[in-house]
């Protein structure tokens, strides 16, 4: 059933009790053309674009828990594309272009809000970095504005620009913003199922079948399935799945945590992030401040961040916004992010024929969801990397052609 104003009125007469389920729980079949492992936004989106744009008919999406229950439901929902290098700019801006039409494409309100993102500069070096990045962004067709201290103060009056690390300026991307993360998973799931994708939840992949260097299927907690092609989109568990297929990845899985405050009236109409003092904050439509900072330095699969990190998050926040110091934090949680050496993702082929991988999004994958899903779907469908995805192969770790976003643009968020 299409979501529309007319259907909303029509269903009001039956007290909204007859809305059909957004997606069902089909039985796992014995064979598929393509299996996507991982039911987060990137995986669900991949299944959707495979069915919609690349004509693949027989697709299953396997999720070990519930869809959107991993990093898709645990991030701070920030979206931007002002990355430094051409390769990243192309990838993340492809995503922003898709974000802009996503709600109408999926017939599901993902609440994409282009409220603007300020990346703060606290030193002369920071000002040089954001200026260099702004010029790089212009050349790649990405909007960027350099603001001085007065302009920042005028736009964000609550901010303390004269703290221990004074705010000298900011790079502003007006097309950046936030989206409702759960809605992204739900919207893609509903749209994918409408195109015939089997979404199988509570189905953990326990093994990957490889014969003569070619993938033939997967073993799951619901039995074994044959597949012509398999796409892995597992985020934190990338190395675990790669090990099942007999290869290793340049990835470390580490905890990243976030917090939300009690809900308050509108006070912050944009996204603020700072690499130097390291915090990022926005206000959700419910009124909560959504706050995050850096990841822990040690490997873990526990989905729990370390306690001292909370102080590292709240310290810079209350320094920048002394007014927030009175707020209570209501919830805190962690996710496991798969970090690569150059802080850029891995999208493409694996050493196993017909087995593809999309991982290594580290601390900032949510923003790329539609773009990542779209380029990966083409890669899986055609068997060769999509043009935008090509620089992000595993091979770059051997050739040396890293896409190094670690120093500047890819701050954890």
């Amino acid at each position: 059933m299409k979501y529309s104003a007319i259907n909303l009125v029509r269903n009001a007469f039956s007290y909204h009790e007859n809305w059909q389920k957004a997606w069902s729980s089909p039985e796992l079949k014995k064979e598929y053309d393509v299996i996507i492992v991982g039911g987060g936004g990137h995986g669900l989106g991949t299944a959707y674009y495979l069915a919609k744009e690349f004509g693949v008919k027989n697709i299953a999406l396997l999720e070990k828990g519930w869809i959107g229950g991993g990093n898709t439901g645990r991030n701070t929902t920030i979206i931007r594309s002002n990355y430094l290098w051409d390769e990243s700019a192309a990838l993340y801006n492809h995503a922003v272009n898709l974000w802009e039409g996503l709600s109408s494409e999926l017939n599901f309100n993902v609440m994409f809000s282009q409220r603007g993102l300020y990346h703060l500069a606290h030193s002369v070096h920071d000002m040089q970095e954001i200026t260099r990045r702004a010029y790089s962004n212009y050349l790649n067709g990405i909007d960027a504005e350099i603001l001085n201290q007065d302009q920042v103060k005028k736009n964000i009056p609550h901010m303390n620009v004269n703290g221990r690390y004074p705010v000298l300026g900011a790079i502003l991307q007006r097309r950046a913003g936030t989206a409702r993360h759960d809605a992204v998973a739900w919207g893609y799931a509903r749209a994918a199922e409408n195109l015939g994708v089997d979404i199988i939840q509570n189905c953990e992949v326990t093994g990957i079948d490889v014969s003569n260097g070619t993938v033939t299927g997967v073993q799951t907690t619901k039995g074994s399935v044959n597949a012509k092609k398999v796409g892995l989109v597992p985020a934190g568990h990338s190395s675990v799945l790669a090990n099942m297929a007999g290869f290793r990845l340049p990835i470390s899985s580490v905890p990243l945590q976030a917090l939300v405050s009690e809900p308050i009236k509108p006070i912050l109409d944009c996204v603020i992030m700072s690499n130097t003092v390291h915090v990022y904050v926005s206000q959700s439509d419910k009124g909560e401040l959504v706050v995050g900072a850096g990841s822990d330095s040690y490997n873990s699969y526990s989905q729990r961040g370390s306690f001292d990190m909370i102080e590292h998050i709240m310290g810079p926040l209350t320094e920048l916004f002394p007014i927030f110091s009175r707020l209570k934090m209501l919830r805190q949680w962690g996710g496991i992010v798969d970090v690569t050496p150059d802080r850029s993702p891995i999208i493409g082929k694996t050493p196993i024929e017909n087995l593809f991988i999309n991982c290594g999004w580290g601390t900032g994958g949510f923003k790329a969801t539609p773009g990542s899903a779209h380029v990966f779907a083409e890669t899986v469908a055609k068997g060769e990397p999509n043009k935008i995805a090509a620089p992000f192969s595993i091979e770059r770790h051997f050739s040396g052609a890293l896409v190094d976003e670690a120093a500047a643009a890819a701050v954890a968020h």
Partner: protein
């Protein structure tokens, strides 16, 4: 948050330490003879184990010495700490 037993100083709070990734990766003796694949493997490829993980830590705000930790990455339980150069404990 961990309480880590530094092999030199004893038990201390995690905030005194920092972690530096997987342990027991030996630098190749003849880097100039390695292929790109072998060098990339040494530099970047990691086991990223779910389960028993051996890793390097430094006691930054203490004795400033390096040592190894054996830890379960599922429960985060620290199973052993030992000095650099010592045999790794069996899992």
């Amino acid at each position: 948050m961990f309480v880590i037993k530094c092999p030199y100083c004893g038990e201390r709070d995690q905030t005194e330490f920092s972690c530096h990734g997987e342990a027991h990766i030996a630098r190749p003796e003849n880097p100039e003879t390695l292929t790109d694949e072998e060098w990339g493997e040494y530099l970047f490829i990691r086991s990223n184990k779910k389960g028993i993980h051996y890793e390097r830590w430094t006691h930054d705000h203490g004795c400033r010495r390096w040592f190894n930790v054996m830890r379960d990455t599922v429960s985060d339980e620290i199973l052993a700490t030992y000095k650099m150069g010592e045999e790794k404990p069996k899992s």
